[in-house]
């Protein structure tokens, strides 16, 4: 029986090749997207899940409450770790770890420089590896990370530095041209799906500020991890931690209220409030959002299948009738039809796997992650695919099977079955279609809004010039600092260079330093100020405009301040000339204000402009901002690199363009935009197919009516118009349903941006036009064929 059913199913599929093709295409695209989304979500959720004791590992984070504005930091003050170790008995282990970076140099046996690179390094206490168990190829935490000036490398890093990790032990590497570190341990690589991209781990005793006792200074890169004792409740421990915080943050100089709390290990990758060492977080809401899109895709694909299958049912009503009078029960027929669906689903899923596998590199490139998709590395995917197969087979197959097996044999054998069975189910099918179109509309609106906003973000004037500006790093050891002016002069002399400025950051930067200040008052203001250290050519280089006073004058140390408009607004000062020649105290340093600069966006357009103070200080410079001629950029950059290397012989050269830096603020939004475009295109395509199926169904149902109308003198155009009208009505209704939802979602997404487009009616109109156009094209194409069919064929039997 099964073999025969299978054979008949295959013959049926072959006979209706175009239907089969459309069905398989829709389903496989839908399922391929689902598989990709599953792999991505699975990868995101697997972060940091490979450590033993993962449920007892926590990071201590800091909560800052400044005037009701709550902010979180993944960092803690340096004395926190020893204090916790002393005072909180619920802890089994506690370890401080500090992220830092600098130049790492490795010499070969003859003392010649073999490798010189800029690397992230981590200062870690031995207990860190008691909390996070890794495989030690040589040494152990206690031996290898106890003594000062010792370093542990991962196997790959050791291979890279010394050719072979077995040779690395006992050798030295030089950090920042000053510290000689002895290699005393080798560990296996940490998994790629972890928030700890540790490669070079230096003993914490080597860390210069390891004995710092200030509870005031807080750096994101100083982390503290704890391993709770077994059976300790997280909430109870948080209470103890609150008490602990009250005791330690009593320093009145601390701005706002601070406290510590626990962050579970599994949250480190998902909590966007706090950064982690990997600089990579994927908030749960984007994971859920992606999941919802996956469900949408699957739903539209299934709806399609249902529409196509029921459209085909007419052709098979005779078979149902004959089988019934031969003694087939309804259950048997259902099983037969369901197994046919399963067969199609199975074929589609094989195809979906191929599509998913092929598009994996594109997707991981888009997501900036290294997702590994291999059927043999991930057993979970088999389970997922099996579930997908069953789910889709059931969702798509159950309803058509129910309808078809219900045909009354007496009517079915006379080809009348569809009329009686069809009426009730057409309502359902139209509803399904409208759901599909509502989803399509939602995505079209969403896509156009995302595209519009991103265009706005790209083109909005930021208040400074961002084109053709190269940002070149500067080494910041004291010897190099003496050469800054020399470098500036030499680079300015290169043809193709228009302006050069020494500064710590560009006008807009992801790295910001905020600090306390006071103006016209003995106490600090209740908000902080963003500081920028620049030389006198900064304004010219970036095209910043002054609205009062003058530029800062040439100086190697702090001498004068220039502030921005926002600061005046926050201080309720309307006349910019009022502040000129008044003293300002920033971070304890007093100087006169000499100018006011017109506002420019110092952070991404998602945030408002900060109050800013600009001053000079040679010791704070980190970057050379170089304004280039827009022609011959590559050649000019090569000359700059050559010049740079001849001046800073011990440094590592690094350069990027300001435009790229600014665009990178919107990486997440760019991904959203691409995803929206992709999924919108997919869903439009799938809906198009689905509509085609429904039109076919309706057309074949109305074949006789159309024939009669033709005999009565209706023209082809009139008939096509008639068929179109009911579908257009459906599309309009689904548009009306989708608009409010789309509006709410769009408002929510746009609220991420302080600077955003006005939500206009156009995206909605566009969505309606696109969906109407698609409908008209599909319906007309399909119904043209029907109206052109021979009248005699339709009217012959009866």
């Amino acid at each position: 029986m099964f073999k025969l059913n299978l054979k008949i199913a295959l013959r049926n599929l072959w006979k209706n090749k175009s239907y089969t093709l459309i069905n398989v295409m829709g389903l496989s695209i839908g399922m391929a997207s689902c598989i990709l989304i599953y792999v991505f979500i699975n990868y995101q959720l697997s972060f940091d899940q490979s450590f033993v004791n993962k449920n007892r590992i926590y990071r201590v984070i800091t909560k800052m409450d400044i005037d009701g504005v709550v902010d979180y930091s993944g960092g803690v003050p340096i004395p926190l770790a020893p204090a916790i170790r002393e005072e909180l008995p619920q802890i089994e282990k506690v370890a401080a770890i500090q992220k830092s970076g600098g130049i790492v140099k490795v010499d070969d046996v003859n003392g010649k420089e073999r490798i010189k690179t800029n690397e992230d390094v981590y200062f870690a206490q031995p207990d860190f590896f008691e909390i996070f168990k890794v495989k030690w190829l040589s040494g152990n935490p206690m031996q290898s990370l106890q003594q000062p000036n010792t370093v542990t490398l991962t196997k790959e890093t050791a291979n890279r530095y010394f050719g072979n990790w077995q040779n690395a032990l006992g050798k030295t590497i030089r950090f920042e041209n000053t510290l000689d570190l002895k290699v005393s341990g080798i560990i296996d690589e940490l998994p790629i799906n972890s928030s700890f991209p540790l490669k070079i781990i230096i003993s914490y005793a080597t860390f210069p500020r390891s004995t710092n006792t200030s509870w005031r200074s807080l750096r994101t890169n100083s982390n503290c991890y704890v391993l709770l004792k077994e059976g300790v409740d997280e909430q109870e421990f948080d209470k103890a931690l609150t008490q602990f915080s009250k005791k330690h943050y009593s320093d009145p100089k601390i701005t706002g209220k601070r406290g510590n709390l626990l962050q579970p290990l599994s949250e480190i990758h998902k909590d966007e409030r706090t950064m982690n060492f990997a600089n990579q977080t994927t908030p749960m809401k984007s994971i859920i959002g992606l999941g919802i899109i996956g469900i949408f895709l699957l739903l539209t694909a299934c709806i399609n299948f249902i529409n196509m299958a029921t459209a085909q049912a007419i052709a098979r009503s005779k078979e149902v009738g004959v089988r019934k009078v031969m003694g087939s029960s309804r259950k048997k027929l259902m099983i037969q039809f369901m197994s046919e669906t399963t067969l199609i689903t199975f074929i589609s899923i094989l195809l979906a796997c191929v599509i998913a596998e092929l598009s994996m590199p594109i997707v991981s490139n888009l997501m900036d992650t290294l997702v590994v998709f291999s059927f043999f590395s991930n057993a979970g995917i088999f389970v997922f695919i099996a579930i997908l197969l069953l789910l889709v087979s059931f969702l798509a197959g159950f309803y058509p099977a129910l309808i078809m097996s219900r045909f009354s044999p007496a009517l079915a054998v006379k080809n009348k079955g569809i009329i009686s069975a069809g009426v009730g189910s057409l309502v359902l099918r139209k509803t399904l279609m409208m759901v599909q179109f509502a989803i399509t509309t939602l995505l079209i609106v969403g896509t156009s809004i995302v595209i519009w906003q991103m265009k706005y973000v790209r083109e909005k004037p930021l208040g400074f010039n961002r084109e053709s500006i190269a940002m070149v790093n500067l080494p910041y050891d004291s010897l190099s600092q003496t050469r800054y002016q020399l470098a500036k002069a030499r680079i300015l002399a290169i043809p193709g260079v228009k302006q050069v400025s020494l500064c710590n950051t560009a006008p807009s930067s992801a790295l910001n330093h905020d600090t306390n200040f006071s103006y016209n008052s003995p106490v600090a203001a209740d908000f902080t100020i963003n500081t920028k250290f620049v030389d006198q050519d900064y304004f010219k280089t970036f095209g910043l405009q002054l609205i009062a006073g003058r530029n800062i004058s040439k100086s190697d140390t702090l001498k004068e301040y220039v502030v921005n408009e926002t600061l005046l607004k926050r201080l309720n000062i309307t006349n910019p000339n009022e502040v000129l020649a008044k003293p300002l105290i920033v971070d304890g340093k007093k100087a006169l204000i000499v100018g006011v600069v017109k506002d420019f966006n110092n952070v991404s357009l998602k945030e408002t402009i900060s109050p800013i103070v600009i001053s000079s200080a040679n010791s704070e410079y980190e970057t050379l901002a170089i304004k280039l001629e827009s022609t011959n950029v590559v050649q000019t950059m090569q000359s700059i690199e050559k010049e740079w290397k001849s001046i800073f012989t011990d440094g590592v050269y690094g350069a990027s363009f300001l435009d790229d830096q600014i665009n990178s603020y919107y990486q997440a939004e760019r991904v959203t935009g691409v995803l929206f475009k992709l999924f919108a295109a997919l869903i439009i395509f799938i809906s198009f197919i689905g509509l085609f199926g429904l039109v076919s169904y309706v057309a074949s149902q109305r074949t006789k009516e159309i024939a009669v109308r033709k005999v009565l003198g209706a023209s082809t155009i009139e008939l096509i118009r008639m068929l179109n009208s009911s579908f257009l009505r459906m599309v309009l209704i689904s548009n009306l349903v989708a608009w409010p939802i789309a509006y709410l979602l769009a408002v929510k997404w746009l609220s991420n941006f302080v600077y955003r487009i006005e939500l206009s009616v156009w995206p909605f109109v566009l969505a309606m036009c696109v969906s109407l156009l698609i409908t008209i094209i599909t319906v007309s194409l399909r119904s043209y064929k029907v109206t052109k069919a021979n009248v005699i064929d339709a009217l012959k039997y009866e």
Partner: protein, 227 residues
């Protein structure tokens, strides 16, 4: 074998009853070959459908082999289809996706007959109908008469006690029609299979041994055919 008592069938439309069948009472015995005749719209096909349990009468009593059909559940009815009734249609209604042999095999599958016996029965019937060479062809590769032969073979293979045929030769040329009617007669006489056919043709009706004439839903005549 079949007993009909006061069978009525009507459709009520806005309070107006339009009758298809009225007061149909008759008995058909095992081994009879009955032809139902009458003008178009007289209710012949409806009567056959009721006999074949494809439609239910609005009123009346229908006993099939001593059992009340109107009170029967679907499972029981399916049992009857499997074991006692064979259908032959005017438009043959072979399943297009199945070969001749598979079409004939289908009812045996529903009857859960083991594979070896299926094979021998199919071989047997193909042999009897001289269709061995055509067993792997699909219905659309056969002529109308050949398709109807397959249709009959399919009805016979399950060894039913009654065959219901709705204008079995309606779509056939007269030579082919004669062949089919000869076959029915032979089956009736040699194997004692009860045959009920709806037909327009006076000539075809002469093959049987009893003619029921229906007009406007009422049995007008019930005559024996003298051979």
């Amino acid at each position: 074998m079949i007993e009909l008592k006061n069978i009525e069938k009507y459709y009520a439309n806005k309070g107006v009853k339009s009758y298809i069948l009225r007061h149909v009472t008759t008995t058909i015995k095992q081994g009879e070959f009955v032809s139902i005749m009458g003008p178009s719209g007289a209710g012949k096909s409806t009567l056959l459908n009721i006999l074949g349990m494809l439609e239910e009468p609005t009123y009346g009593e229908y006993n099939f082999m001593g059992e009340d059909v109107t009170a029967m559940n679907e499972r029981k009815r399916i049992e009857l289809y499997r074991n006692h009734i064979g259908f032959v249609f005017q438009a043959y209604h072979l399943i297009d996706e199945m070969t001749v042999a598979e079409n004939i095999e289908a009812p045996l599958l529903y009857k859960k007959i083991p594979g070896s016996e299926r094979k021998s029965r199919i071989a047997d019937i193909l042999d009897r109908f001289n269709m061995v060479a055509k067993k792997d062809l699909f219905p659309n590769q056969l002529s109308g008469g050949q398709q109807q032969l397959v249709g009959i073979a399919r009805a016979l293979v399950a060894q039913p006690s009654i065959i219901l045929a709705d204008e079995p030769t309606g779509n056939l040329q007269s030579v082919q029609a004669e062949q089919i009617m000869d076959l029915f007669k032979k089956l009736n006489e040699e194997e004692n299979i009860t045959i009920l056919q709806v037909t327009h043709s006076e000539r075809n009706a002469q093959y049987g041994n009893r003619i029921l004439t229906i007009e406007d839903g009422v049995i007008k005549e019930d005559v024996k055919v003298s051979s």
